[in-house]
């Protein structure tokens, strides 16, 4: 062949590739500029409906105090651990509202926010609490009334994977804490209880919403271990004639925290708006929205007003189990207690 083919091919191809790269970079810059006009709240699974309402209310409040300027808040939802992972890898979250403090600690350990983040907002940076309850089929045909009933023959329990789901870790720890507190309860009896509990789990979904979908939409299992907000949503809004809530005699106080991602708000120039958004969560208006979506308000007035929504529960907290760092290392790290009881 003459000089007109191979050489030209190479040069032109290189030129084309360079142009494509330039275009790619241009798209990257363009998108970033437009994203700065809004806030991004990276959240865990069951808060979709909650933050959809709160974002609207906050936008209205922001507009009224800032001369009508619009501020859109977008929320991304997914398993708490997975969401924390994407923020760590560069998802441009201005605030995170995750399922458990450990996931935020992990971000702080990588320098995305201050390590004292949990003291920067009231109530351990937890504007709403929740707890872990059971959801059964209507009429509770398997007669499930407490933790001990979950390990009876023929009972199938639906709970997501504690490795990926924050809610599942709360479920697991609620069971662990209950077993420890039984007469004669030791770590060995608690281990034995959890092992037999997970032998009753037919499928481990990756996130809390996936597990709820398995139970509610696909009809899998006899009992769903769930966030109270998830369970109340399913029992009262999705299928009032299909499900019953069972509150065990003892369960865990779940504290899903919120935090400002310092590194990202400084890069986006959104610190003021992000801080206002988090503070807004503690206002009576937002607390009321929380109660409407079955998240327990921390504000005493809002809590009193919404007392009729929530069943009375007796709870223990994560600190009584040694705090998240110790719990994570002992139970959910590779070859921790969960791996031991689930593999055998």
């Amino acid at each position: 062949m003459t000089s007109s083919s191979p050489l030209t091919l190479t040069r032109r191809t290189l030129f084309g590739a360079a142009a494509a790269c330039a275009a790619l970079a241009a798209i990257g810059r363009g998108r970033k500029a437009s994203a700065a006009q809004a806030l991004l709240n990276v959240s865990y699974d069951p808060t979709r409906e909650l933050y959809a309402d709160i974002n609207r209310a906050f936008a209205a409040q922001w507009a009224s105090t800032h001369g009508g300027s619009a501020l859109a808040v977008r929320t991304s939802n997914g398993g708490s651990g997975a969401q924390a992972r994407s923020v760590l890898e560069g998802s441009p979250a201005d605030v995170v509202t995750l399922g458990l403090a450990y996931d935020v600690d992990m971000l702080a350990a990588h320098g995305l926010l201050a390590t004292n983040w949990q003291t920067r907002l009231p109530h351990n940076s937890t504007p709403f609490t929740s707890t872990i309850v059971f959801l059964t089929r209507k009429g509770n045909p398997k007669g499930i009334h407490g933790w001990a009933d979950l390990v009876r023959d023929g009972v199938q329990v639906v709970t997501p994977n504690p490795k990926t789901s924050g809610g599942a870790r709360w479920n697991y720890l609620a069971a662990w804490g209950w077993a420890l507190r039984q007469p004669g309860g030791t770590e060995d009896t608690a281990r034995a209880y959890l092992k037999s509990l997970f032998a009753h789990v037919p499928v481990l979904d990756a996130g809390a919403r996936g597990a709820t979908n398995s139970f509610v939409q696909r009809g899998l299992g006899d009992v769903l271990l769930a966030w109270e907000d998830e369970a109340l949503l399913a029992a009262r809004d999705l299928g009032p004639d299909k499900f019953d809530i069972v509150v065990p005699d003892l369960t865990i106080l779940a504290e899903p925290p919120v935090a400002l991602v310092d590194k990202n708000v400084d890069a986006h120039g959104t610190r003021e708006a992000a801080q206002a958004y988090l503070e807004f969560l503690y206002t009576p208006e937002a607390q009321k929205i929380g109660a409407k979506h079955y998240f327990r308000p921390v504000d005493p007035t809002a809590a009193a007003e919404s007392a009729s929504i929530f069943p009375a529960v007796k709870t223990f907290d994560i600190a009584s189990l040694g705090g998240w760092t110790a719990v994570q290392k002992k139970h959910f790290a590779s070859s921790g207690v969960f791996d031991q009881i689930y593999s055998k």
Partner: protein, 290 residues
Amino acid sequence: MNALAPSSPDNARRSPAEIALIAAAYAIVGLMLVLPPVLVFTEALRSGLGAALASITDPDALSAIKLTLEMTVAAVAINTSFGVLAAWLLAKYRFPGRSVLVALIEIPISVSPVVAGLVWLLLFGTQGWWGEALNRVGITIAFATPGILLATLFVTFPFVTRTLLPLMEQQGRDAEEAATLLGASFWRILWGVTLPEARWALLSGGLLTTARAMGEFGAVSVVSGHIPGLTETMPLHIETLYNGYQSVAAFSMAALLAIMAMATVGMRSLFEARMRREEPRKAETAGGGA
């Protein structure tokens, strides 16, 4: 096997075994391929056409549709250009490592899309090799449009080359050599000789790329960050809607995506039929000339 050979077109002469097999084939196709889209459309229209239309004109839904179309157009343009050049190189030249290249181009077909997505995160995530450095100069790739484009490019990489390569190999290089001797430039040969010969295969490969680019979930899911209204493509938005208990909206979006995919596949079948019709004619003229 002989009983199944298409040598007996007459229905009356089919054996019961043959009929049973054909019926089974239809039943399996019906169950596996026809029923799912039918269910999707049924679910989408459960609350009426109005509700379905309203749900796909929601701002987040429109943004997902727009992003999907942008990514598809970009992926088809880039992968078609690359695919033509690659097929040309691989079909018309012999060089050391050629068979390795042919094998490498097929990697995206065999690699799980999730892995494809994770590779981009490994390179462009802030914990990855280049992410932090690129961020410092203001370029964001992961959890933004460029990352989604890269993921889409990767999974649709082989289609154009794979459809063009056999055809170009079969055509040989006689026509191009003649054109070169007559003094045609590289681009003239590409546009005037090579591509017209391969146009239906090229279209077919492009449409295959289109269908895959629109529907890709796994690879895009890893690099997207699932931000509604910003980085969600149609398949991702369908999942978000479904998980938010918005069944009608989820299935409406799914129905729209299914219509787009079916239109693409339909066009592809049409082009392939034309390709087959033109082939014998070419063979005749070639035979006449010899």
